[in-house]
């Protein structure tokens, strides 16, 4: 058994044991919420009792700890882009055999050492952190007296921690326990997420992937910007700075990436075969339609109808030969 597999099994066993000893809620409190709460308080102490600065410091620490994963993800994304031509070949070759196609794709990933889920890990790991941070911000900023009272049972027995609460929720124009009433943070979250996504997305020549990718680049920032409208601004602050750190990291590794690059347009014939409208295809259609109208009137450009019929037949025959099924 490999060492990696052994570690995973040991961690899983420990988690199961803790679950049955403490139950899910207590386990969550023990492993995530309490450490997050107490760490944020200690960070606040370091940063002049400033809760906002403590959140920003937490972003930097979390991102630093996740650097190996982030690098792995970036490499995976880069590697995925180099595999695109090979993937296309496989799709052409096994267009009629989906099972074989899946097998070959899987083999290709394995041989090149790329994980299709590589981009997921940073998000997966950050998700419980976001949730723990959300709950921490609400309790630390004492949005209600019940929150403050609940906080008392989650603090470690360190004087420095008890002396620091409750934290001042005010930071710049924000109340960190409340949504941003000026809507600046939702805009910043959406904008920074857009930039980061655009920088890290590899443009695809496949029109279907392209359109999906375009939608994703807009939808996700808009969605997160919308969610930010409802969430405490402490969490929004975390997201903005997390994205900014991500942009800076991405820049040093891959430069601006696709931020200022337009996605390549697919070939008109290829687009037509796939039933996709392109500017070139539209022009071609218009030309054909004009010719068709002219033929109905008898003569077009001095040529007789019969001869034009023959030419059309041959054109159609040629197109049929090259047309492929989608």
């Amino acid at each position: 058994m490999s060492r990696k597999r052994l570690i995973i099994i040991l961690v899983a066993v420990a988690l199961v044991f803790l679950f049955f000893t403490y139950g899910l809620v207590d386990l969550w409190n023990l492993l995530l919420l309490q450490p997050m709460l107490n760490f944020l308080i200690l960070l606040s102490n370091v940063f002049f009792s400033n809760f906002g600065l403590a959140i920003i410091a937490l972003v930097i620490i979390v991102r630093l700890l996740m650097t190996p994963l982030t690098l792995k993800q970036l490499r995976s994304t880069k590697a995925m882009s180099t595999l695109q031509p090979k993937m296309k070949e496989l799709q052409k070759k096994y267009a009629k055999d989906k099972d074989k196609l899946r097998q070959e794709i899987s083999k290709l990933y394995k041989e090149s050492g790329v994980s299709p889920l590589g981009c997921l890990w940073p998000m997966l790991i950050q998700l419980p952190i976001w949730i723990a941070l959300y709950r921490s911000v609400l309790q630390l900023a004492a949005a209600t007296p019940e929150d403050l009272m609940g906080l008392s049972s989650k603090l470690y027995s360190l004087s420095a921690i008890h002396q620091a609460v409750p934290l001042d929720p005010n930071f710049l124009w924000l109340n960190l326990a409340q949504p941003d009433s000026y809507f600046i943070l939702p805009v910043l979250v959406a904008a920074s997420m857009y930039v980061l996504q655009k920088m890290s997305t590899v443009p695809s020549a496949d029109p279907q992937q392209q359109s999906m990718g375009k939608m994703m680049i807009w939808m996700m920032p808009l969605m997160f910007g919308f969610i930010t409208l409802m969430f405490p601004s402490g969490l929004a602050l975390f997201w903005v700075f997390s994205n900014i750190v991500g942009i800076v990291t991405q820049y040093f590794i891959t430069g601006w990436g696709s931020l200022f690059v337009r996605a390549p347009a697919p070939a008109p014939q290829v687009a037509k075969e796939r039933g996709v409208e392109t500017p070139e295809g539209a022009l071609l259609e218009e030309k054909l339609a004009t010719e068709r109208v002219g033929q109905q009137e008898g003569v077009v450009n001095g040529k007789s109808r019969d001869k034009r019929k023959d030419r059309r037949r041959s054109r159609r025959a040629g197109a049929r030969k090259t047309r492929r099924k989608p």
Binding site: I131, L138, T144, P145, Q178, P179, M212, M220, M223
Partner: protein, 405 residues
Amino acid sequence: MKPKALFLFALLIGGCLLLSGCIGTATPMGWSAPVMDDDVIYVGTTEGKVVSYTLFSEPRVAVEWWRFPSRGKPGLGSGGGGGGFLACMPTATAAVIYSTPFVADGAVYIGALEGKVYALNTSSRVAGHSFPQESEGEWAYPEEDFIGAIVGSPVVADGILYIGSGDSNLYAIDIATGELAWDSPFTTGDDIWATPLVHDGVVYIGSFDHKLYAIDAADGTAVWESPFQTDGAIAATPLFYNDTIYIGSFDRKFYAVDTSTGKAKEGFIPFPAGNWFWGGAVGYDGTIIVGCLDGRVYALDAETGERKWSFPKLDKGPVGPIRGGPALVGELVIFGSDDGKVYALDAASGHLIWDYPHEEDRFGPIRASLHAWDGEVYVHDTQNQELCALGAENGNLLWSVSTAE
């Protein structure tokens, strides 16, 4: 990863975040304690209303007398108990009352979380007149706008009402006019969630800036050279006993302060507990009895701070956190706990005399202070929106009434 799958995953993340915010969020419920005056009980409710109940002797029942704002109208404060898109975001302006009413001469004074202080006239409220009836001494302060969130309770002495606010100020309001009695409010370094104590012309108040202040009740000037400094936020009500002020703090210590100097009382060693002190204390026969959020009640020597007894004993597990102040009835000290039980102890020895209820989940967490009158102890269960009376001697349930509309 395919964009479609990534998009769906992003939706999942957003959903998880939203749900996590909704599940387990502390809903503000308030912890207004009931007070009795002339066979009428007054209490603030979880819906942001002030309700009064008349007590009848035979049978012993409590019947609602008036409610402000009246039935069908929204409670004092905006939002009605929560806020945000899915009502998952608690807000400080929810319609809920933490303040305990202060009753004097037919008037009821109360602070609402929204940041307003109200003076209500009983006759006007019974008649259902619109608010405020200024000729009957009713007012709201401030008239327009709001001050900071009010969590502590008002205290009236010599025609002036004193109340702390989340904007760091202690306000003194003339109850005849509803206007400020001092030139300006007394400002501390942080939020004031505590209830003031007025004794002998001096107002004692604790603040989240870790300090206990003594302020001249007449003009709002500081009495001590410097306020008494602790190492944690102060939310508890001070106790005056034997010329000494006793106060607990969030630094988990209980202090005694010399009223003349504002310094620590000589010979009294601050008592360290397991968690914050939030509720008030009572004095009994040279002993200070106080509850703590570590789930224990401590009896301390008033001169030295030495622990005389604790309940439960230190070798036993605690009960739930104790936030409210206890009630002293004869030789019994009675308090409520977050575990949903009321405990009556012998004040001299700390032995348990009775507890109520015996069935589980009868009460929710009891965070409001208890009030005792004429052999009865009044308990406000805010989670179940219930007000009830227990016999002080044996803990039997005498009556209960719902505070909900």
